[in-house]
């Protein structure tokens, strides 16, 4: 299973616009990372501090960036994505957030990802593979505020869709910024509709804002079609 990047197509929201190596490379690295992560989570599981406000779930911040000047094909998605840290309470969240650059101030081709601890910001993660995402394209200048609104709503459990939410992504691009929120079950229309409505509310979006839902299966297929790699993901 691969993380695909379609540099020219519209699926540059989310995590899969990083250039990647071959499927084999990717798979290998992913395994490595899983091991690493398992080790680290064994080592240290974040817990809320005394007197802090616990979150319903633990979350992890990630950052990814396409290194400028290097050929895309030689980079793997997983090489470019870095884990910033995990947190279990509102206070711990702010601790990280306050020490991070606002998305609007990011330069280049970069993304912040905020996923539940244990879910990797990839299509292929078990939690994501049947899922999809709502995509909102924003004109420049709105990303910081919308991102903050989105993640506060997610961390504060404002979406009210049980365990459906997987994470959120903000992608800084040349002419626009894209925010998206991922959920587990793309086929659950009640859930996706509810997420959409909550998004509209918490982001305070203008009524004419276009919101697009995309299943990860479609994202993978689009990537594969573009790269001529039909069935490259080995039947998964």
């Amino acid at each position: 299973m691969n993380n695909k990047f379609d540099a020219l197509k519209d699926d540059d929201s989310g995590d899969h616009d990083q250039d990647q190596g071959s499927p084999k490379d990717s798979e290998k690295e992913k395994t490595d990372e899983e091991d690493k992560e398992q080790n680290s989570s064994k080592k240290k599981m974040v817990v809320p501090g005394a007197g802090e406000h616990p979150l319903q779930y633990n979350y992890t911040f990630w950052y990814s960036r396409r290194t400028p000047g290097r050929p895309a094909s030689t980079q793997s998605y997983e090489q470019n994505i870095k884990q910033i840290g995990s947190f279990a309470s509102v206070e711990q969240f702010w601790r990280f957030y306050s020490h991070m650059i606002r998305p609007g101030d990011l330069t280049g081709h970069s993304d912040f990802h905020l996923f539940k601890e244990g879910i990797k910001p990839m299509w292929e993660d078990d939690a994501n593979k049947m899922g999809g995402k709502w995509i909102i394209r924003l004109r420049k200048g709105l990303a910081s505020r919308c991102w903050e609104n989105l993640i506060l709503a997610m961390l504060g459990e404002q979406f009210m869709v049980g365990e459906e939410i997987c994470g959120a992504v903000v992608s800084v691009r040349f002419q626009e910024d894209i925010i998206s929120i991922w959920n587990k079950t793309a086929s659950d229309q009640a859930t996706t509709a509810r997420i959409r409505d909550t998004l509209r509310r918490v982001l305070n979006l203008p009524p004419n804002t276009i919101m697009e839902y995309k299943t990860h299966t479609d994202s993978i297929k689009a990537w594969e079609d573009f790269h001529g790699l039909v069935n490259a993901s080995g039947g998964r």
Binding site: Q56, I84, G85, I101, N149
Partner: protein, 741 residues
């Protein structure tokens, strides 16, 4: 000469013809409409009277004296600029020109109007004319005050009757003139006249007719001058009558015109030889003055009463009145004497103002009384003892800082019981914006219906908020923040009722130091305000400072999250409560505002251990003081509030178009005081189907009329001998229904 005669003959008809256009033009008239329209009516009366004389004399009066022509011209000249509006004058001229054309039809026209009563012919015509005129006018002033007013005037006329009739030694014509004077007066006020009065008039009219039947040359002259005499002597009366009724029309109140104003409006043109025969028509004040009157609001057409009340319940209905009154603190009066330079010294004296104030409170006897600018010592020494004797329970909150005044909310102890009470201080030293010493009082009252000492029914809770916001016209931002505190407190009371399953009605009143329809007012009435980038002076709209090159603008966020009030003008703490409730149900749910509150708490400012400095991560230390975070969620967001509020006063009186004011001093007259309430909304059919038969909200059933600026200036501004403050009191009557088991 013929022209002038024709004018006299036809002028009443011209009056009749011009009623409608005049009315139409009245609506758009500038404040001088009072004089203008009054004169317009006066003119009508005059011409009626003259018509009576002239028509009588028309055949006999063959020797036109040049003086008569002079009279006409002079009257035209004088009455034109002084009494008539341009359009009326124009009409007169036009009618005069048209007179020739209508010469042939004038005799036919008269009987047509006079309902075929040939015995009284012209006089009847005039009278009918007058009645028609009144009947045209009547629909306009159908308010409570009108009837009172006319009754009063009738009384007045009757007393004058007494003066006139016993004088047996006056000549027949003079008696007749006096009679017709009476008639004319009756005509001007005959909108509620009964049939017998009309019959009376007919009788007297007939007498007059007989008297005029054989005039001598001398009498002709006497009649001519007499008609003028009547004309001018009428003026002081009919003019007054009309001025009063005009004011009645406009604002629903009356005020007497002393001889001074009558003379100013109508300079007498003649020195009459016969004046000594005349009983003086001095205008005395025999009747009690009703300054402001109740304006009932009849919504029976739109009201949809539930057809029935389900069996175990009985519908309880309660009427109550609310007064909001900025009574002008004596210390502030003395500190700003330049604002009251127009006032006679005695009306600025506290003991005098206090006397008037108590009279006014006693007169309207509100069930809930919200006072502003109550000086602390005056409250404790004067107001509190008297008000508690009158049955009021009072709450007082002095302003913080050095100012000696504050707000007081008083309510009838036998109508309401207090559920909770908060006294708000808007001075928050930790918040830079809130550095002004204003206060507010929010009371949660429970209406009780009592029979004797036994409480028979308890109504839905009523939240009564009273405040006096900052005056400074340039600091709309401060006013908004103060208002937000007020709204948050009200909301918390409403919420606390909601948790008990009760619907809480809201009354928010006071001096908001903001004019209607400007941003602060909009926030209250529409529930939403996009403030980002607005100039601070514009928020209240008291002064137009747009000419200034530099003006302070409002930027988001307006107030810091440390204030604990969200953009919805709700306490963040109340959301905190919801959150803890959610936690009880096993879910860690947090609102946006709640999470933002923790943003700069000490635990959140520590750099996470082992945080690598990769791109996307900064080595900056979080700065709790930098609150103007551009990505703050309040960026370009509106502030809003969830309360449904409407103003009792609509700020434009329906008739005159002259805007009413609630405050007036030597510098400014404006509406800045309000009573806002949660109105009863018509239930949708869906709600009705749900069996929701309890009507929520307050039904506004009346309010005491305000006065316009020009009317107040005619009373020498504020304060004066009637109104003790530089503000007017606002009084509203509400109906509250509930179902009691």
């Amino acid at each position: 000469m013929i022209g002038s005669l024709l004018f006299y003959v036809l002028y009443p008809f011209s009056r009749f013809w011009t009623i409608r256009p005049s009315e139409a033009s009245k609506k758009g008239l500038p404040p001088v409409v009072v004089n203008g329209t009054a004169a317009w009516d006066g003119g009508a009366v005059t011409s009626k009277r003259i018509t009576q004389c002239q028509k009588t004399l028309l055949d006999q009066w063959h020797t036109p004296g040049s003086r008569t022509k002079g009279e006409t011209k002079e009257r035209m000249k004088k009455s034109g600029p002084e009494k008539e509006n341009d359009h009326t004058t124009a009409d007169m001229d036009k009618k005069q020109l048209m007179a020739a054309a209508h010469e042939g039809t004038k005799n036919e026209a008269a009987p047509k109007i006079c309902d075929g009563q040939p015995a009284v012919e012209e006089k009847e015509t005039a009278m009918t004319n007058g009645q028609q005129q009144d009947s045209v006018d009547t629909p306009k002033h159908e308010d409570g005050g009108m009837i009172v007013h006319h009754e009063v005037l009738h009384e007045n006329n009757n007393t004058e009757d007494g003066n006139i009739f016993p004088t047996d030694d006056i000549s027949p014509e003079q008696a007749c003139r006096a009679q017709t004077t009476e008639d004319s007066k009756h005509q001007t006020v005959c909108c509620v006249q009964e049939q017998k009065q009309i019959q009376n008039m007919e009788e007297t009219v007939t007498v007059c007719w007989d008297e005029y039947a054989a005039p001598t040359a001398d009498e002709i002259h006497g009649g001519a001058s007499g008609s003028n005499l009547v004309f001018t002597s009428l003026l002081s009366n009919s003019q007054t009558t009309n001025v009063s009724s005009q004011h009645n029309t406009q604002t629903g109140w009356q005020f007497p015109i002393g001889p001074g104003l009558a003379e100013e409006v109508h300079c007498p043109m003649w020195t009459f030889p016969a004046v000594s025969y005349y009983p003086p028509f001095e205008f005395t004040l025999p009747f009690k003055v009703m300054w402001r009157v109740w304006q009932e609001i009849d919504e029976s057409a739109t009201e949809e009463e539930p057809a029935f009340t389900p069996f175990p319940f009985t519908k309880v209905s309660m009427d109550f009145t609310v007064m909001s009154y900025n009574i002008l603190a004596q210390d502030l009066l003395e500190a700003n004497q330049e604002l009251y330079a127009h006032c006679p010294l005695e009306v600025l004296d506290w003991s005098y103002r206090y006397f008037l104030l108590l009279e006014e409170i006693q007169k309207w006897a509100p069930d809930i009384l919200c006072l502003q600018e109550v000086q602390e010592n005056h409250y404790h020494e004067h107001l509190y003892p008297v008000l508690s004797q009158m049955g009021y329970t009072c709450v007082y909150k002095r302003r913080t800082g050095t100012k000696t005044d504050g707000c007081a909310t008083c309510y009838r102890g036998d109508y309401f019981s207090v559920v909770s009470l908060s006294q708000l201080e808007f001075f928050r030293p930790e918040t830079e914006l809130l550095d002004r010493h204003n206060v507010g009082i929010v009371l949660l009252l429970q209406p009780v219906a009592t029979q004797g000492v036994k409480v028979t029914a308890k109504g839905p809770p009523l939240c009564v908020a009273n405040t006096h916001l900052l005056f400074n016209p340039r600091r709309g931002d401060v006013k908004l923040a103060q208002l937000a505190i007020m709204l948050a407190e009200i909301d918390s009371m409403v919420q606390s009722c909601a948790t008990k399953g009760e619907h809480c009605n809201v009354i928010l009143c006071g001096d908001f130091n903001s004019v209607p329809h400007m941003p602060l007012y909009q926030l209250i009435t529409t529930g939403k305000l996009y403030y980002h980038g607005l100039p601070a002076w514009m928020i209240s709209g008291q002064e137009d400072l747009s000419f200034k090159s530099h003006c302070h603008r409002l930027f988001a966020p307006l107030w810091p999250s440390t204030l604990g009030i969200t953009d919805n003008c709700q306490y963040a703490a109340s959301e905190d409560m919801c959150q803890s409730q959610n936690q009880e149900s096993g879910k860690c749910q947090y609102t946006h505002a709640f999470m933002l509150q923790l943003r700069y708490c000490p635990a959140a400012c520590v750099r996470p251990q082992g945080l690598m400095l990769i791109p996307g991560v900064t080595d900056n230390t979080p700065d709790p003081t930098s609150r103007n975070q551009p990505y703050n969620k309040r960026f370009s967001n509106p502030i809003s509030h969830p309360l449904d509020l409407e103003s009792v006063y609509k700020h434009i009186p329906p008739v005159s178009g002259v805007s009413e004011v609630t405050t007036l001093n030597s510098e400014v007259g404006a509406t800045v005081d309000y009573i806002f309430y949660s109105p009863r909304r018509i239930l949708s059919s869906a709600q009705k189907a749900d069996g929701d038969f309890v009507s929520k909200g307050l039904k506004l059933t009346g309010s005491v009329s305000l006065l316009s600026e020009d009317v107040l200036w005619s009373m020498k501004g504020l304060p004066n001998h009637i109104f003790p403050s530089d503000h007017l009191s606002l009084i509203a009557k509400f109906q509250l229904d509930w179902n009691a088991a």
